[in-house]
């Protein structure tokens, strides 16, 4: 009896919490399809016009393309750089791993605003290509996502027996570097994909770096969102909802892959 009473409390608490957490999301989705919403708790009239309007605007599309483009570019670069580094550490210099793992945790301790401002003040008048805002932004993102991508790649590398696989490959006269990229990397592909998706979601949702480093010269979706919010038009609601849906689908894709992976491992 006592137990059931306590369970009742748990359900009540969690339900109330969910109401609080979901309230802003429900509000924004309703707002984005409401024609007029002034005096009542629910909108008086619904319309999908804002979405139609939004998707017919070229600069909205361009903002999405820019956001996705820079996410893919920086995450791809970061993965490539880390794979090469981890190859050297695993195969030739195991002693360097400690240094590598400490280095990649530093970005955790640096707030985005510090990274952005320090890069800007150092390279803004500096030599090309460092002074190029897009170059600065891309590599700044690489730094921000470094800890997440590293953890993902490292964990999956340890799940496969790298040394044994490489030794076998060498016996079969395959060069180590080639073996690493043709045998090991495909083996850990799903692990890399999960951390890549999480990193993409981080870059996609960034506002502080793009605002500080690139300013209006690189108009991403988050920037578009910010401007729409300032104008406070109903269209802003639609922009928020689209941005949120994109982030959500990236996160859920990663989550599902992870679930699949753990089920697969459990079966093994």
């Amino acid at each position: 009896m006592k137990n059931r009473k306590r369970n009742w409390f748990a359900y009540l608490f969690v339900t109330l919490l969910l109401v609080f957490l979901l309230m802003p999301i429900i509000a924004i989705s309703l707002y984005s399809i409401s024609k007029s919403w002034t005096t009542q708790i629910l909108p008086e009239e619904f319309t999908f016009d804002y979405y139609g309007e939004l998707f017919s605007m070229p600069d909205f599309f361009l903002a999405i393309v820019r956001s996705i483009g820079i996410s893919l570019l920086s995450v791809g670069l970061c993965i490539g750089i880390l794979l090469l580094a981890l190859y050297v550490v695993l195969v030739y210099k195991p002693g360097w791993e400690k240094m590598l793992s400490i280095t990649v945790t530093i970005p955790y301790a640096i707030s985005g605003v510090i990274l952005a401002t320090s890069l800007l003040s150092l390279y803004a008048g500096g030599p090309w290509p460092l002074s190029n805002r897009l170059v600065m932004l891309t590599f700044a993102y690489c730094i921000v996502i470094l800890p997440y991508v590293y953890q993902g790649i490292r964990n999956s590398l340890y799940a496969v027996n790298v040394h044994q696989l490489l030794e076998v490959a060498e016996i079969l006269h395959c060069k180590k570097l080639r073996a690493f990229f043709t045998i090991i990397v495909p083996n850990i592909f799903s692990g890399i994909t999960i951390s890549a998706l999480l990193a993409i979601a981080i870059v996609f949702g960034d506002f502080v770096l793009v605002k500080t480093i690139a300013g209006t010269s690189f108009f991403t979706l988050q920037y578009y969102l910010f401007n729409a919010m300032l104008k406070s038009g109903t269209r802003g609601g639609a922009v928020v909802f689209v941005a949120f849906l994109i982030t959500l689908s990236i996160a859920f894709l990663a989550f599902n892959l992870q679930e699949k992976g753990s089920k697969h491992r459990a079966q093994l």
Partner: protein, 283 residues
């Protein structure tokens, strides 16, 4: 000879990594540290930038505001997250799934998006405010969202899903047998949690606490979207000092950045210390 040549070529593979962290992490950080000790007028070594930050009300306020908002939102966040993770254990399987999905979803809801959505609810013509006016609920109807309390609500909002998701796995380390043995020894549930449950969970709680603290300390988007440059937080002041429309104060900004980085470092070190312990415990 050949082996020596080979031992040099493989190092080329790690070169991009070194270039990345040196050019975009170490050099900017070190240059920031140097600039924070440089006089804006003469370029000579000085401690004045730090003195200014800690004595002038304008700058000091951003530090105290940042600390205040972070501490309160972290405290509220950890209490709610603790109860939320505790309740998770008592739920049925289906409801658990709904719950974790909602937590995962809302943990992605941050920055400008979050500020905008809350504005629709609690802004001057927000739904909840309008409703409160109709129902004559004065305290909610007069709520000023563009203030510290409004900011606090959005901060607490983004702390809850993160904290809960971090704490849920920790509760798995509380073994059912412990509860049974404590019952045999005639301890009630409150005593069990006070003397066994919470002490066992302490490393995870402290670890989560430090993550939440660092998370709110470094937040920028939500606050900027809500109040622009009108509210004094460390992150907002730093961004303003480097990209200011009127004057740029690189040296002062660097000093402020260094203070913020130090605060962040402290919480990250605390986190590593306790999360490591929590991990060992679970094994």
């Amino acid at each position: 000879m050949r082996t020596r040549k080979q031992s040099h070529t493989y190092l080329l593979a790690i070169l991009p990594f070194f270039l990345l962290v040196i050019l975009f992490l170490f050099v900017p950080m070190i240059s920031m540290l140097f600039k924070s000790f440089r006089s804006p007028e003469t370029g000579a070594f000085t401690l004045n930038n730090y003195v200014t930050i800690f004595t002038k009300r304008y700058y000091l306020m951003s530090i105290t505001n940042s600390l205040q908002v972070s501490l309160i939102s972290t405290a509220a966040g950890i209490v709610i997250a603790f109860i939320a993770a505790f309740c998770f254990q008592k739920l049925g399987k289906k409801y658990r799934k709904v719950y974790t999905s909602a937590l995962n979803m809302t943990s992605n809801f941050a920055g400008v998006t979050l500020a905008f959505s809350f504005m629709l609810l609690l802004g001057k013509t927000g739904t909840l405010v309008t409703l409160a006016k109709q129902m004559n609920m004065k305290s909610l109807a007069d709520f000023d969202f563009y203030s510290v309390s409004g900011l606090m609500i959005t901060y607490i909002y983004f702390q809850i899903p993160l904290g809960t998701l971090l704490l849920i796995p920790a509760f798995d380390s509380i073994k059912q047998e412990w509860k049974e043995s404590s019952q045999v020894l005639k301890a009630n549930s409150f005593q069990f949690w006070l003397y066994i449950g919470i002490p066992v969970l302490m490393p995870s709680i402290l670890g989560t606490l430090s993550i939440l603290f660092a998370n709110s300390l470094s937040a920028y988007g939500t606050a900027y979207a809500l109040m622009g440059n009108n509210f004094s937080l460390m992150t907002i002041r730093i961004a303003g000092m480097f990209t200011g429309d009127v004057v740029q104060q690189v040296e002062l900004g660097s000093a402020m950045s260094t203070v913020l980085a130090l605060l962040m470092c402290v919480s990250v070190v605390i986190n590593m210390k306790y999360m490591g312990k929590a991990g060992e415990l679970r094994k």
